[in-house]
Symmetry: C2
Subunit: 516 residues, 2 copies
Amino acid sequence: MVKFKKMMKLIAEKAWEMGRSDPRKIIFAAKMGLALTIISLLIFLKEPFKNDISRHSVWAILTVVVVFEFSIGATLSKGFNRGLGTFSAGGLAVGMGELSALAGEWEEVIVIISTFIVGFCATYAKLYPTLKPYEYGFRVFLITYCYITVSGYHTGEFLDTSISRFLLIALGAAVSLGVNICIYPIWAGEDLHNLVVKNFMGVATSLEGVVNHYLNCVEYKKVPSKILTYQAAADDPVYSGYRSAVESTSNEDSLLGFAVWEPPHGHYRSLKYPWKNYVKVSGALRHCAFMVMAMHGCILSEIQAPAEKRQVFRNELKRVGFEGAKVLRELGNKVKKMEKLDRGDLLYEVHEAAEELQQKIDKKSYLLVNSEFWEIGNRPRDENDDHPKGLFHMDEDSKFLEYKSLSEAVLDLRSIEVQNNWDEKTTDNNGNNHDVPPSIANENMSVKQMSWPAHVYYKAKEEESKTYESASSLSLTTFTSLLIEFVARLQNLVDAFEELGEKANFKDPLEQQSVV
Amino acid sequence: MVKFKKMMKLIAEKAWEMGRSDPRKIIFAAKMGLALTIISLLIFLKEPFKNDISRHSVWAILTVVVVFEFSIGATLSKGFNRGLGTFSAGGLAVGMGELSALAGEWEEVIVIISTFIVGFCATYAKLYPTLKPYEYGFRVFLITYCYITVSGYHTGEFLDTSISRFLLIALGAAVSLGVNICIYPIWAGEDLHNLVVKNFMGVATSLEGVVNHYLNCVEYKKVPSKILTYQAAADDPVYSGYRSAVESTSNEDSLLGFAVWEPPHGHYRSLKYPWKNYVKVSGALRHCAFMVMAMHGCILSEIQAPAEKRQVFRNELKRVGFEGAKVLRELGNKVKKMEKLDRGDLLYEVHEAAEELQQKIDKKSYLLVNSEFWEIGNRPRDENDDHPKGLFHMDEDSKFLEYKSLSEAVLDLRSIEVQNNWDEKTTDNNGNNHDVPPSIANENMSVKQMSWPAHVYYKAKEEESKTYESASSLSLTTFTSLLIEFVARLQNLVDAFEELGEKANFKDPLEQQSVV
């Protein structure tokens, strides 16, 4: 008893929570209850007058329960399917009935054979991919056909049965459509609209999160196996942000299928509203999200760039990430408010940031590669101990001054240093990096790797990862060029958005201002 | 008339094609026809004996049509839902009926109110995410409850109605289960199994295709907008291979939902067969497929590495791609044949190939960066015109000899060369690359870029792309490190596979041999 009470309390809590997070669910359930009540009342009221109705009353109830879907579009499409299926099956069954009646003693055989043939054809047709949205219609067709044939065979009232059945289905459909549309309608189109906006925000959050994680060297102690097997993980906002955008395809497709059924309403006033373009924008966003996903892959990877190298590009990476997320949020808001873009170039700042990052990479790309194994000779690098800050912490402002002086220093020291490098490979690489966590000393490791015989293969798992450790510096390159590719893909997203804005007749923010 | 004939021919052709590509669809349609025929016959036969059956015959037909699903698992789960829904609703309705009968004149009010409450609760509950698989059960519950209440209100035969209804539903369910299971059963589990195998093959094809395309510098003249908005494009095997693996999540989930209902059968003999692990393996494969997708992104990108640099790593990249695809195919075949892995390490060769690629990168990573803008001084590079083959075509075998001599050449020429570099930046970079298509001369371009004022922003679209051109060499780095990351992720896939093999009791190929 105590257990039962506890369970009831838990259920009540969950129900309350669901209702609070999406009140439309409560309203929908109430609407359903109301529709059922109305149909029951109608059948109660009609009962005394016609006895035939009672026999077929089940159809009205069935129609209400089956047709009453969450969104208007789904209700309309199911209602249409049901109507069409019933109508055509009714016609066919009546025709078949008349025909079989002519056959005399072979009547029964003809009925049986026709049932098989109709069942076969309808089932086969509904398996055809492009007919899948009408799957429900085929089912209704079969039910109606068999029912009318079987019941008509005994009573001979093919026409009567199918007409009263059709009337009751129409009654049920009218009640459910009336209740569903007139009382607080829930539109699939609006859901689609909101889903697209949500995807924009999710990807923006992920992008910022990925860049910040990367710069702060957040590492997964153990990558959650949910990520490794691509399952939903609610507790990681970075992961779930882009995942939900990537995963929403099937959801979008089904919402699109319903939205096209909906009449013009609310903000979506044109007759052939371009719902398809919402899905297209979302697809273009997904194309960007894949880059965020690949960047996240750099964080998940065993191959990690050393922290001090990441810090060199800190400001630039951060700026690109910030500007990229800003563009996504701006586009998301524009979609939400159904406004066209402002006159200025939305991508100006993010492109500038990307360009800056690119220039920095061009200047510092020696940091991105491991020069120890170069065939053409090692590059000089560690000889500038006289610069107390080292290469890694060069200030942007004093860059051009140091630029020259550094290069001279290099020239002076080069001949000696290179000699040294060829004699002994293990110069103290980390000598000037005292401000870096000591745990990250990959360069030493990769030096040690050199002593491996090239074809000795370590089987133990722990050592396997070492195989890839020398790729660590390249990992930073990968991250930055994925980020730049992300920025490049934004243009495609903006194009898709502009097409949507044109077709859906979004408001022009400038015109609005001038009106005010 | 001619038009009609043409259309009929087209339909017949499509139907024939569908049947040839998946004969199970024809069999399924025939089974459906058979089940309907049987149920019609049964009702015909029973008619003379009991008149009550005729009134409720619709339930049997309805059950057959609704419960008869493509796979056994779906049929069982729907049948269970239907049975449970009918049973519990029947119980509740009978109880309510007795209760309302006691209320005397308030009977009608109680019936109406209870209808509303039941409708509300059942609809609200079915919206709860974890109860979604039972959505159909809730519908049946509502239909049954309303029907029994309404029809029982007038006749007073609550119990009779619900019993005869339940019997007819049982009859319908028995017929459809009998036909569906006994005649050529179609198992959802087998579909899931095949889907996972298909995903393996698709990703393997994509991987090989991506690597080959990349090495052959296949470029999309114009990236198909279907790829940019992530829609299905059947004509590009590279794209559709990984896309179908990425997209199959929802399909897998629904098949999993059905497969768990299926009794042990065929190859899947244990009682609690680990279908979940198939989905997990597929998820791990997807985790790898995302890397293939990112690599494909390098081909789609505007930022392209120059062809001659790709050729340097040709053999290594090709080998990793080939070995990676081999591993995927091998795993796919093992899943297909339900065998455990052989004793040897499956990943040995692909790891070795990746290691070789990594070493090559370490040695040649100066090719991956653009040294023209280095602050610490340009690296010497073009002074070895006396080596006729140039840096790009160094033979692996003679490497160590040239290694030394080259480095000396560098030492000799360095001081002069570096001076030169600071005076004029445009040394003839392409002088020793005559075997490379002349169209690709990105290095010159990036030199020209240097003359841009840093903050001048070109607005025209054609020029936008130039902003990123200097990233071209980094693109090769990205591609290779994505490929290496792909190899690293294979371990995770193998782990998932081994877990599946353990839980599903796959055959051990060695044991089998010893038995033979």
